[in-house]
């Protein structure tokens, strides 16, 4: 069977593209014989364009392909195609929603639901907060096991807690604790605990709140941050919070880990002094 490109938006078609499609059609014949997916190479090329921020080119490349991945890629690239307009974002959202309605069990469906939330939250101006939350929550409900989709929990914390009045922020934060139960991946859980920990620190009024922060941050550290800056930040926050709460051993452990690992961090000297003063006080 010859793959047909039947959903290319007419307005995106230009002569060189038609030529390219013709070539692809010819190429797909050969690939079909070899048993390869007809448009795998072109999809790879289109994703490579996304990787290098060539979003307008990527929209055209995806539009010349068929299938759910191509449609998803087209919408993802459309979020950043220039010039950015609200119509393009809305068009992308409708594609994401369509993809997740068609099949929410495959990665594209789950990612579609996550990206619909992302578009409502971050790409539309002004954002549509409630729709973003609804998309994120339903993305988490799918239990896709995709780390990126699980970061929906992080965005929910930001929208619910930070983008609201400070009064009641702690209560809203506490109400989000059960989100952890919906997370299955190490990355999703780590980011959730990191965000909860920092949020508790930011809105803390009492040491009880700070203790909650410390619990989350320690859990985040157990799940291991792989980005050096994130790890340094986490260790300093744990050390500082534990120190504030009078938990000397924990503070010293994390201060030492930080001081020994991140020698070229501006805080290194200060932390070394804290270790010294803690040891002197022993």
């Amino acid at each position: 069977m010859i793959t047909r490109c039947n959903h290319i938006p007419v307005r995106l078609l230009k002569f060189p593209l038609r030529l390219e499609i013709a070539c692809l059609l010819v190429a797909s014949l050969g690939l079909e014989v070899l048993g390869c997916p007809a448009n795998a190479g072109s999809l790879k090329k289109a994703w490579a364009e996304v990787d290098t921020f060539r979003f307008n080119e990527a929209v055209r490349s995806f539009a010349s392909q068929e299938g759910r991945e191509a449609l998803f890629g087209q919408a993802v690239a459309m979020l950043n195609s220039q010039p950015r307009t609200q119509n393009k974002i809305r068009e992308a959202i409708s594609i994401f929603e369509k993809l997740s309605m068609e099949n929410s069990c495959d990665p594209i469906g789950a990612l579609g639901r996550y990206y619909a939330g992302r578009a409502y939250q971050l790409h539309l101006d002004p954002p549509e907060r409630e729709k973003a939350l609804a998309s994120y929550r339903s993305a988490l409900d799918l239990g896709s096991g995709l780390p990126l989709v699980e970061t929906a929990a992080v965005s929910i914390i930001f929208i619910e807690v930070y983008d609201g009045p400070n009064s009641g922020a702690l209560e809203r934060l506490e109400s989000l604790e059960p989100l952890a139960e919906k997370l299955r991946t190490q990355i999703g859980l780590r980011e959730f605990h990191t965000t909860m920990g920092y949020a508790y620190l930011n809105f803390a009024k009492t040491d009880t709140n700070r203790q909650r922060a410390l619990t989350h941050l320690l859990e985040a550290d157990r799940l291991k941050a792989t980005r050096p800056q994130a790890e340094a930040e986490l260790w300093v926050a744990i050390g500082e919070t534990a120190n504030h709460l009078g938990q000397r051993e924990t503070a010293l452990t994390y201060y030492r880990k930080f001081a020994d690992t991140y020698k070229r961090d501006r805080r290194n000297h200060l932390i070394r002094e804290r270790i010294k003063s803690e040891n002197d006080g022993k």
């Binding site: 921020f53 950043n80 220039q82 010039p83 950015r84 307009t85 609200q86 101006d125």
Partner: protein, 315 residues
Amino acid sequence: MPRPLSHKKAIHEWKLYLFVMPSFLMVVVFAYFPAGSAIFHSFFRWGGGDAKEFVGFENFMAAFSDRIFLESFATIGILIVANIVKMVPSIATAVVLHRLRCERWQYWYRVLLVVPMIIPGLVTLFIWKFFFEPTRGVLNNFLDATGVKSLLVHLDQIFGWGIFFQGVPIGWLSQPELVIPSLIIWGFPWIGAVGVLIFLAGLQSIGTEVYEAADLDGVTPWQRFTHIELPLIMSQVRLMLMLMVIGTLQGFGLQFLLLGENGGPGGRGMVPGLWMFNRAFFAGEFGYACALGMVLFTCILTLTWVNNKYVRVEK
């Protein structure tokens, strides 16, 4: 009177258009395309890179409530008035040159006037910046040497200006009260070569019979200037006035070089062009800067129209 070109002939002689093409393309690429691009981008939130977001008239609404932008027009108003006064030395020089009897000397004076034009404008600006330098600058050294500085300090003590102090070099560009005077002093004695040459051309086009008639009537040199020369070069004066207003409204190089991107102390030297530049290159708001440019363009267009329509030259 030339006959209108027929449509058929215009097409038949198509090769002639090729001669116009290079200039036409140059103008389109280097003049109209940037202008068109600025109009396009004024409707976007744009940081100068690839990413841009359509925001409709938001940038224009912001421009009309931008206090600094609006206030900068007051500074421009003062500078335009000052520049009108600064046209007088050019007219006077042109008249003096025109009245020189020896043609050879007139020629050399014209050459001397043109020679500084080959010096890049930036160099002139740097030289002037050095003039204003507080410790080693020519201006302060001159005022110190001539005793004018002591006089200014004395006057300051009487009137309580709070600008000139004994033992403290005058901060021409660091005292807000002196910023606009410095911008006005710049270019002293304000004899612009182009202006002089344009006025001189106007004066030289006055027929000798007019002067002969005036001589017969026994007019004085002053009367000759006010009743003959000035009225007959009003076309040139109007042209220079228009160019000066446009130049002053658009320009910001002088202010930027002398005072920096924020318009100097108290922001006193802030002009619309400089604010546009500030927003684009220091705040990264290129789209907004384009909108400011569009507002400025509209102002210039309106002033030019007013000038053409209402500033009449009766000869």
